[in-house]
């Protein structure tokens, strides 16, 4: 029986960190991201740093109240993400959650934020449902979404002559969504989808799927996948001489760290849509240099977006002198966005920040002057065109 007492005492001692805490009158931000897995390089510690920079540049206080920040790793799991979100909002008096890559986690966190009237600034996740069926009055979808990616890469590639497509899609909801949105855009621009194949997530070997794509004779092979799957597809496409054979690859979700991992010889010629590139102009270069000095990698659009979102949020609190979720978000929607990354961005009623997107092409090794010099800008896609919805807006906030 001693056993039981000691065991319980031990268990309680170990669970002490879970006890409730109360914080004072501060503005508290929580950066919830993927710190250790697939997306750690495009979000993760870089997003935390971006948020920190935003708070520091703002001055560290807003209307006399201190600004604090905490962060955590959701490991791309909706359970862990929602557990942390609940704890942050209930126990730790967090006012706004920032970033959250992985759409499934973002959807779960948005639910919780909405039920507690707390702010959710989405930079990492891409699903357009976040501002569609599942939209919330306390969320801002800041950086990009699947509609913009489809409108960007899809229409630009078709207009340049790539009118027959074959999709290699990662077999999960996000991959399907990317494929669906891009198909709609391709067909709306007069193109045709000749076929598609769904590969399980975390497939290592794409040779079979690439052979099917080759056999289809489509001009464009659309990669509706991301991360490791996309990198493997591109690497192996180079092996099988896909590009030499006359077909082109279109990456539907590509980040600069992916190109860094692939290397220019394998990736050159790839066309992709992003909201930001470190080398676009003096303002982006200046900000990116500060980021690079800390993180040793150039920032992705998501990390740059975190900076912008946090700054805009703090400005809105300053203007309204309130940290009530719906009030602040309303102010954010009423104010245009202007920073190093965004010019005259406007937030729609459903929460989407309508901003210009850019079509880039990966440089050939000879064209690159050094590490991270990977993109050349091909076109600007104006915000209204990039974020144009293919059908009626499904967000209940907008309909009624």
């Amino acid at each position: 029986m001693k056993t039981i007492v000691i065991a319980i005492a031990a268990a309680l001692a170990l669970t002490a960190p879970a006890s409730a805490q109360i914080s004072g009158d501060v503005v508290k931000l929580g950066v919830l991201s993927d710190m250790s897995s697939l997306y750690a390089d495009i979000t993760g510690p870089g997003s935390v740093e971006a948020a920190r920079m935003a708070i520091a540049d703002f001055g560290g206080t807003v209307n006399g109240r201190n600004i604090e920040m905490i962060s955590a790793d959701h490991q791309n799991k909706p359970d862990i993400g929602s557990a942390i979100a609940n704890q942050w909002f209930d126990n730790d008096r967090v006012d706004a959650i920032v970033d959250v890559p992985t759409s499934s986690v973002a959807l779960a966190v948005q639910q919780i934020a909405r039920s507690k009237n707390k702010v959710f600034l989405i930079s990492g996740a891409a699903a357009s449902d976040l501002t569609g069926k599942a939209c919330s009055p306390t969320s801002i979808h800041w950086t990009y979404d699947t509609v913009a990616l489809a409108n960007g890469t899809g229409s630009a590639v078709v207009k340049a002559g790539g009118d027959t497509w074959f999709f290699i899609t990662a077999d999960y909801a996000f991959g399907h969504a990317l494929e669906r949105d891009t198909t709609r855009v391709v067909e709306a621009n007069g193109g045709k989808v000749l076929g598609k194949v769904r590969a399980p997530l975390n497939t290592a070997d794409f040779s079979s799927f690439l052979l099917q794509a080759q056999a289809s004779k489509a001009k464009i092979i659309g990669l509706a996948n991301a991360g490791g799957d996309m990198i493997n597809s591109i690497k192996q496409a180079a092996e099988f001489g896909i590009v030499e054979g006359g077909q082109k690859l279109a990456g539907l979700l590509v980040f600069i760290t992916d190109i860094n991992s692939l290397g220019l010889p394998a990736a050159h010629g790839l066309q992709l849509t992003e909201a930001f590139y470190w080398d676009q102009n003096d303002a982006t270069r200046a900000w990116s240099k500060r980021f690079f000095d800390k993180i040793k990698r150039q920032p992705s659009m998501i990390q740059a977006g975190v900076y912008g979102a946090v700054t805009h949020y703090l400005n809105a609190i300053k203007a309204t002198n309130s940290d009530d979720g719906p009030t602040v978000v309303k102010q954010m929607k009423a104010t245009p966005v202007n920073d190093f990354m965004t010019k005259n961005g406007k937030i729609r009623e459903d929460g989407t920040l309508v901003r210009d997107m850019y079509l880039f092409e990966v440089k050939a090794p000879a064209e690159s002057k050094g590490p991270w010099d990977y993109y050349k800008q091909i076109a600007v896609i104006p915000g209204e065109e990039a974020f144009k919805l293919p059908g009626p807006n499904e967000c209940p906030l907008v309909k009624g």
Binding site: G44, V197, A199, A204, K235, E239, L262
Partner: protein, 298 residues
């Protein structure tokens, strides 16, 4: 309703191409599962760290290239040696103490070691991969008529076959192999003959690990060199070994090739299931013939 099954059978040349690609993957699976089969067959240890050791081999190749400028051909020899030494260290420090226990403890221990190794690498290198190019001698390919076969893939199939046959030969047909097999069945008797059994066991584990690392080096140019590369493959490799028969080298080789072919066909007809078909086969084999196709019941 049936759009999940690609009911249109592709034309013969295309099907042939898919089969060849499947065979190439099978060669890779065979080589990868060889180390696992050797370790289980001879040492009765379920080496869950195998995936992490495969990853170590690939990272070692990348490291050798980036820090010392030693290319692929050097890595083929050096990486297995280096990782093999790491394997020997693991055996001496950890595995040594648990031989007398239920083999399931071995599984749990090696699982824990795999988590440690992968966690450390993820912390250090993030999870996006490191670039590693195909060596210039093996770039390009030839047009076989029904498909374009990259030279590197042809190399993979030949090298895997060579390694598999060599390993099988050493274990089944040489005196060293005979000693190893005898030592597993009756270590005391073999020791009585003056053979240093513990050292043989250590070296065998090291050899199995070196095989995993060799597979990692061969994977580096075509798959992403990332800390997660092992954990994605480990349960598939397990399935291959179980189906072939957990103690049997020949079983691992044959089932590796066969499963590569089956997976290749699945990718044509029902691609979403290509990761799962191996488990269906594993379940069936375990129910009908639990020792696997070539194994002996233990």
């Amino acid at each position: 309703m049936f759009d999940w099954l690609h009911l249109t059978i592709p034309p013969a040349p295309a099907l042939f191409a898919q089969l060849l690609v499947g065979l190439i993957n099978g060669a890779f699976y065979a080589m990868l599962s060889l180390g696992l089969a050797v370790i289980f067959g001879l040492l009765n240890i379920i080496n869950f760290t195998h995936g992490a050791q495969y990853m170590l081999g690939a990272f070692c190749a990348w490291f050798l290239l980036n820090t010392f400028g030693l290319g692929y051909w050097w890595a083929l020899v050096l990486a297995p040696l280096i990782v093999g030494v790491v394997g020997i260290a693991i055996e001496r420090l950890f595995l040594h103490h648990i031989y007398r226990l239920d083999p399931l403890y071995g599984l749990l221990l090696t699982f824990g070691l795999a988590l440690i190794i992968e966690g450390i690498f993820r912390q250090q290198y993030g999870s996006s991969g490191q670039p590693y190019a195909i060596p210039p001698e093996l770039r390009g390919g030839r047009n076989l008529g029904f498909m374009f076969l990259p030279n590197y893939r042809a190399w993979v199939i030949l090298a895997s076959l060579a390694v598999c046959l060599a390993t099988w030969f050493i274990i089944e047909r040489t005196q060293l192999g005979a000693y190893l097999r005898a030592a597993t069945e009756n270590p005391i008797l073999v020791r009585a003959f003056g053979i240093n059994v513990p050292r043989m066991i250590t070296l065998t584990y090291g050899a199995g690990v070196a095989l995993a690392a060799l597979a990692g080096v061969m994977a580096a140019p075509i798959y992403q060199v990332s800390p997660l590369m092992g954990s994605n493959l480990i349960i598939v490799v397990f399935a291959v070994v179980v189906i072939g028969g957990m103690g049997s080298i020949l079983g691992a080789i044959v089932s590796g090739f066969t499963l590569g072919l089956v997976e290749g066909l699945t990718k044509v007809f029902y691609p979403e299931a290509s990761n799962t078909v191996i488990f269906v086969i594993m379940a069936l084999v375990l129910l009908v013939k639990p020792a696997g196709f070539f194994g002996q019941a233990r």
